[in-house]
């Protein structure tokens, strides 16, 4: 790929934002597993593997899974966030593989938030 120009960069950002927006309506859910060193140390890789397996088993290619860095609250890792449609993101904390499976089945597939593992809904504040 040749070096990007300013116009291409702006165009790219526009496309990416449009893609993100389209994804919201086209994909059923996006699952973010928070994998900073703190998350990995408390078992986030297992959570990622389990959820990936579940998606495969379901054959659900409209469910997206991705990783991010640390979500901040290291003492309550592993954490994951479920984003569905235009509903606010839902953050779950202190997960195990079986809790993650429950979240996948009840929330991602069934649309019902699993309150027992819930940390909070919504976004953090910036400045």
């Amino acid at each position: 790929m040749s070096a990007i120009t300013l116009d291409e960069l702006k165009e790219k950002k526009k496309e990416l934002r449009a893609m993100r927006k389209a994804m919201e309506s086209e994909t059923r859910a996006r699952i973010v597993v928070h994998m900073g060193t703190c998350g990995v140390a408390s078992g986030a890789q297992k959570i990622l593997d389990r959820v990936s397996q579940l998606i495969d088993a379901e054959g659900a290619n409209d469910i997206q899974i991705m990783t991010s860095g640390c979500a901040g609250l290291c003492s309550r890792e592993p954490m994951l966030t479920v984003e569905m449609g235009n509903a606010p993101p839902v953050k779950y904390a202190e997960l195990t593989e079986s809790k993650a499976e429950k979240i996948f089945k009840k929330h991602v597939l069934g649309g019902k938030i699993v309150e027992s593992s819930l940390l909070a809904v919504g976004s953090e504040m910036t400045r």
Partner: protein, 597 residues
């Protein structure tokens, strides 16, 4: 008429911000000002109402209305139909649907409620291995601005205006540092990112590199243009394999996009970055040691001046900043120095990332505006002390910092305030201690770290810190003498004044600050042979309260040296001659019958 102002609240949640809520807020302010109505409205950023996905969300408090999807292009009609009209036109700008009621929101959780994210603004939102995620969230906007529409002097002026000071510890104004380097003549200059985060308990920089690696690189490229450098080096400690992987990957992506390399964005500015892995010596966080290590020599400091701005890496003019400082740069350039300096205190601008650890309910990464009180950080964000114990002190700034006692809990955290009480900002490690911590033991712990980490080049640090540690060990063993405190203080002054670099210069801080605030604990060790917190092994004995003991034998089973005897259901006893004071019995006792005196 001030009290009658109509409040317009624009959501400052990270999700709405990604959708342009700041631009919307500015546009509303601008629109109302043009209509001459600026004084009748109070426009403010507000916390997330959990309508993410439908933002930007704007609330008009006096109408009791809330509107979703207010795009910056619709602002003028939004002001007509909703801000100025009552009742507002809910059909044009509908109330957000699909809210989740009755569940805790991020803004209700203490840990998140009081944080304001600037450096960590993308946390949890982007895939650090995907440059496109970063671009979608305003990545490289600052870079484009700096490279294509600003001169070197303009970039430096913006940095000076922002008031940002180095986040690595010393707190030197970043813009001034860049200016020194820019003014030095020379065709080869270097930009260095100090990623040798070495304080025990500190992990801010690691998290920034792991979660938002592209921002660090973007900051360095901007810095490169400002000082006139075409090469950057990240000196990363080898204990951070995940940060290494993500940075290396991010560098590859920037190169692929042409955002690193020759003629970036057609601006004529070229820049390359490589990562060098350091051995993880604490002293290499000091800039001259870091440079020596980069050059393949032993990581040892040298006297300054000459400062790296004049003679740095390979004796060329060099600007070194820490990871968090670099990650701030793109946001400052993108949103302006005035915006940045509106956050914080008189002398310390912006936000600071802390790693909050120790005896505190919520441990993790905390970003707050400068000037936030310790009480807010430890109790509101940290959730207070676990197990119903009492807060005793907090160590700020790692081994170079000091212990701040409970009486100063309302201290606003900024560079000057921390220095006044004998601590330092440092890179942002906050270690919380409860009543079970012995301050002599704490000072001894930090000094033992520094004895290991002193490079040995200068005598005051090599010998002085070692002797101070010996005295502390003596006190902790109950063998101290009356003169020891005086001797400690005298040694501390010599080490502080005569050491070559900041490692020695700040090494006595843990001792001086604990002496300042917890002198009576030292005196109890010295004069009464007693450790009030029950930590120093030589000064304590374990026994079992015969009244409370149920004779369950849990302690007997836990004791590794068979020092506990007693019949089942009869009170047990500890043989002091055999006891190694490991504390296993106390942990195993369900009735709190094991006493430490």
């Amino acid at each position: 008429m001030k009290e009658c102002k109509t409040q317009v609240r624009v959501c400052a949640g990270t999700s709405c911000a990604c959708r342009g809520s700041f631009e919307v807020q500015q546009a509303i302010e601008h629109d109302l000002a043009e209509r001459g109505l600026a004084n009748e409205f109070q426009i403010e950023a507000t916390e997330c109402s959990a309508h993410c996905g439908q933002g930007p969300v704007v609330e008009i408090a006096s109408h009791g209305s809330i509107h979703a999807g207010v795009d910056v292009s619709d602002v003028s009609s939004f002001v007509d139909e909703c801000v100025l009209k009552e009742p507002p036109a809910q059909d044009l700008f509908p109330q957000p649907g699909n809210g989740i009621d009755g569940l805790p929101k991020m803004a209700d959780v203490g840990f998140f409620k009081h944080q304001r994210l600037v450096v960590l603004r993308n946390r949890g939102l982007i895939d650090p291995d995907n440059i496109d995620d970063y671009i979608a969230l305003d990545g490289f906007e600052g870079l484009a601005k700096a490279l294509l529409s600003m001169t070197q002097v303009e970039i430096i002026d913006e940095m000076k205006k922002s008031g940002i000071r180095g986040r690595g510890g010393a707190g030197f104004p970043t813009g001034v540092k860049w200016e020194f380097c820019q003014k030095v003549q020379g065709d080869t200059k270097y930009v260095i990112c100090n990623a040798d985060e070495g304080d025990p308990g500190a992990f801010m920089d690691r998290s920034v590199m792991e979660g938002n690696p592209h921002a660090v690189l973007e900051g360095m490229i901007i810095g490169g243009k400002a000082i006139g450098a075409t090469n950057g080096v990240i000196y990363l400690r080898d204990e951070y394999p995940l940060a290494l992987k993500r940075l290396t990957n991010a560098i590859g992506q920037l190169e692929e996009y042409g955002l690193l390399g020759d003629n970036i964005l057609g601006s004529g500015h070229s820049f390359n970055i490589r990562v060098v892995r350091g051995g993880g010596a604490f002293v290499c966080g000091e800039e001259t040691s870091l440079i020596a290590s980069l050059e393949g020599k032993a990581g040892r400091p040298r006297p300054r001046p000459p400062f790296p701005a004049n003679e740095g890496f390979w004796s060329k003019p060099t600007t070194i900043n820490n990871v968090e400082t670099w990650a701030n740069v793109p946001v400052i350039i993108n949103r302006g120095g005035d915006w940045y300096s509106s956050i914080g205190t008189e002398s310390s601008k912006g936000t600071k990332v802390f790693s909050l650890v120790g005896k505190v309910e919520n441990t993790g990464l905390v970003e707050v505006p400068m000037g936030t009180t310790l009480r807010r950080i430890i109790f509101d964000i940290g959730g207070g002390i676990p197990d119903g114990k009492k807060f005793k002190a907090v160590q700020s700034g790692g081994p170079s910092g000091g212990c701040i006692p409970e009486s100063l809990i309302d201290l606003p955290v900024d560079y000057e305030e921390l220095a006044k009480v004998g601590a330092i900002m440092g890179s942002g490690g906050l270690i919380v201690m409860d009543e079970s911590a012995c301050m002599v033991d704490v000072a001894k712990f930090f000094l033992s770290f520094l004895v290991e980490e002193s490079c040995g080049k200068c005598t005051p640090c090599r010998e002085g810190v070692l002797r101070m540690h010996e005295i502390l060990t003596k006190i902790a063993e109950g063998k101290g003498t009356a003169e020891d405190i005086e001797l400690l203080e005298e040694l501390a002054m010599v080490v502080k004044d005569a050491s070559l670099c900041a490692l020695g210069g700040t090494a006595p801080n843990p001792v001086l600050s604990t002496l300042r605030y917890f002198r009576e604990e030292y005196e109890a060790h010295l004069n009464e042979g007693r450790c009030p917190a029950g930590v120093c092994r030589s000064l304590i004995t374990y026994s079992i309260d015969q009244e409370i003991c149920h004779g369950c034998s849990a302690c007997q089973q836990s004791c590794p040296v068979d020092a506990i005897s007693g019949e089942k259901k009869e009170p047990h006893e500890i043989d002091a001659a055999l006891c190694t004071k490991c504390g296993a019995c106390q942990e195993s006792c369900r009735f709190d019958a094991v006493l430490v005196v």
